[in-house]
């Protein structure tokens, strides 16, 4: 078996309020997730998504830190945790449906030791960009971050959703991901 293998490649057929990547193979040590997201929100902006490992429990077992720039802020950072929030907040980035057509936010994420039952502090590292940088204006976002969940067993499921507090938002059909495993 190769050191790096694609586990699954999925394009979202119908818009959804929650995108669940379930039944993740436990054959690997680390995960790489290349995630490309667009929202149904008709707005020329970019938005944060939330992410949980396994099923949502509501418990504040997560923490995160992000460093970013966007169209209105040339450099910011924020962090919460550990055990400060109940999800990887500001994890996946999502392009609004009013941004340049046929373009999707890029999220390149790594989850270390996801299948381990001994390492219970699961860590995620990511980098991301969203929206085009053309001269016509509009929102854009670039950044990188890290997060973790404490007291976390093997990860068999990831759940991703629009996480900016406005109800009714969905991840738009055509969004896609490639999930790969590292030995």
């Amino acid at each position: 078996m190769a050191d790096f293998e694609v586990i699954s490649e999925v394009t979202l057929g119908s818009s959804t309020s929650q995108w669940v990547i379930a039944d993740i193979s436990q054959d690997y040590t680390h995960l790489e997730l290349d995630l490309h997201l667009r929202a149904t929100t008709v707005n020329n902006g970019t938005y944060p998504g939330g992410m949980t490992f396994n099923t949502f429990t509501g418990s504040n077992h997560y923490g995160y830190g992000v460093v970013y720039s966007n169209n209105s802020d040339n450099g910011s950072a924020s962090d919460v945790g550990p055990d400060g929030v109940n999800r990887i907040q500001y994890g996946p980035r999502i392009s609004g449906d009013g941004t340049a057509s046929d373009s999707y936010a890029i999220n390149k994420m790594f989850i270390a030791n996801y299948s381990s039952t001994a390492i219970l502090h699961k860590q995620i590292l990511w980098q991301q960009s969203a929206a085009t940088g053309d001269s016509s204006g509009g929102s854009w976002f670039m950044g990188f971050g890290a997060g973790a969940k404490t007291n976390c067993g093997a990860i068999t499921q990831l759940t991703i959703w629009p996480d900016w507090g406005t109800s009714g938002q969905e991840i738009k059909a055509g969004s896609c991901y490639t999930l790969s495993g590292w030995k």
Partner: protein
């Protein structure tokens, strides 16, 4: 590929084949149309990351071209290692499908230079070529290292947007750059060619790419 799909077994060692580009040569007496990715050799192995092509610098040219890129993968990853020029540091630009029209591209970057420790956003204008921001290839020990991810490079209906991590911080304090970079090609056209050219204004001889620089193009997954 131009070969008879029922007569594909060559007199060549399989060990010399390169990824799926040459895979069809190894499978005799069956129609190509019956093959499925990952099952060709009967092992049922999953597709991972395969090397498509490697450029090795020899100090005789300043342009890297990956041409006739197979349309069989989902994502491309381009990795430049130990990138150096002969004399002048330079930013470089990346073009797709032999199109160098500046208006076809947009860029975004955050990064820091050799003196400051800050993060800045930069919104490129449409009249600027898709340049790697900063001196990523230098004539000093600050060799450049890129990891360039281009997802969905041949997927219909998606613009070709890359996310790139660039670093050029060596032991010499006089230069270097760190950047997270987005490169957008404003079309959904499948990418079959990538050119990397220098952006400096001096004679080309100053930008000849030096040993031991390499540029490797990988394919990941299976085309949609």
């Amino acid at each position: 590929m131009s070969f008879n799909q029922y007569r594909t077994n060559p007199g060549q060692a399989i060990s010399n084949f390169r990824g799926r580009t040459d895979t069809p040569k190894a499978w005799p007496s069956t129609a190509v149309s019956t093959w499925t990715n990952g099952g060709l050799f009967g092992g049922g192995g999953k597709i991972g990351m395969e090397e498509i092509a490697v450029y090795t610098a020899d100090a005789t040219n300043s342009i890297i071209t990956f041409n006739s890129i197979p349309q069989t993968y989902r994502n491309l990853r381009m990795v430049l290692r130990s990138a150096r020029t002969a004399a002048y540091g330079s930013a470089f630009q990346v073009h797709y499908n032999n199109s160098s029209y500046a208006s076809s591209y947009n860029t975004l970057a955050i990064g820091n230079g050799n003196a400051a420790s800050y993060i800045e956003g930069a919104k490129a204008t449409s009249n600027r070529s898709p340049t790697i921001i900063g001196d990523t290839i230098l004539p000093t020990e600050n060799t450049g290292y890129w990891v360039w991810d281009l997802p969905n490079y041949c997927t219909a209906g998606k613009k070709k947007v890359s996310l790139v991590r660039i670093g050029a911080k060596g032991i010499n304090a006089g230069g270097g750059f760190q950047s997270l970079f987005q490169h957008t090609y404003n079309y959904t056209t499948a990418i079959s060619r990538i050119d990397i050219t220098h952006y400096g204004g001096a004679a080309a001889s100053n930008y000849l790419l030096k040993v031991p620089m390499t540029a490797t193009l990988y394919g990941i997954g299976t085309a949609e």
